[in-house]
Symmetry: D2
């Protein structure tokens, strides 16, 4: 899996909402209604991550969730990261429509 050039990363991110390229990661902050919804999102994303064998770096406090993605093997951002990021957006959007 090949890592993207910075230019390509910014190009891809312009098609998405709320994701930024910071310190070598693509990163986004999510806010849920409560802790239960945040945990539910993490579980659902966790199943996806496990299926892809590609795991996020994430931090949760109550209803907040910060997710950072990169591909260690490629020492950069690859299609795997964008693929998981898009899946994450889909999952969170669904849960936040509660």
């Amino acid at each position: 899996m090949q890592k993207f050039e910075n230019e390509s990363i910014y190009f891809e991110l312009r098609k998405m909402q709320g994701w930024n390229f910071i310190n070598g990661y693509i990163e986004k902050n999510f806010v849920f209604i409560n802790f239960k919804d945040a945990m539910t999102a993490m579980i659902r994303i966790g199943f996806e991550a496990e299926n892809m064998n590609h795991h996020p770096e994430w931090m949760n406090v109550f209803n907040k969730l910060n997710i950072r993605l990169r591909t260690d093997d490629a020492k950069g951002i690859t299609e795997k990261d964008f693929s998981l990021a898009r899946k994450i957006d889909e999952i969170v959007n669904s849960i936040n429509r509660h």
Copy 2:
């Protein structure tokens, strides 16, 4: 908590979708896209059930989930069951909009 008369149960169920009163339980069948979504719904409902200290009888196979509710202490259906049922519908609708 007082149990509802059968007449009142049927009256309440007419306001809801897909729930039936069978063998002393209010019951509904749910279908998800895959196992991951079914498990995610169970976790989110599980948090709600634990908060209410009111737990479902449920059966899962792959993407299918059957949920049955009744209030043991009241030996029947109470407001607790309708309250949890409405919450379950809300959660499942959200997850199924994926």
Copy 3:
């Protein structure tokens, strides 16, 4: 994946604890301390099931969990079922040592 003859199923089950061969399924009942532990076991087993792409039929009420396994494609019990059953025992034993 080839299905086991009944004789072989009984032979395998003698090496395990609490599993029975009933109505075409291998089946076991589990009891946990509370609902939270039962749900935790289900999540952990769910990850395993999803990895194997082999899913249980299970029923939960509060701290009780009934699990039934068979392999639909083989119309019987296969190594996949015994493999998942052993993994389930391992997971539940760990959670129940709380």
Copy 4:
């Protein structure tokens, strides 16, 4: 709920394993066998946190979990934090005995 003096915090932490008092939080790092076990621990701890209405600040990457606790209302460490910390140790010990 009253916050502990620093001296009392250190005294309490000496009875526990692996917890440190850093930047106003009591904090510990956990390592699991895999991502599935880390997620399972988070769910089980999440149920406990929700029951106590006291939520951790935590960061997960694959099999690693960093947990930080403090009581916002008390602007410090209270009995709630030690109580959750002890529960977390109990849960993680059980899962890591897999």
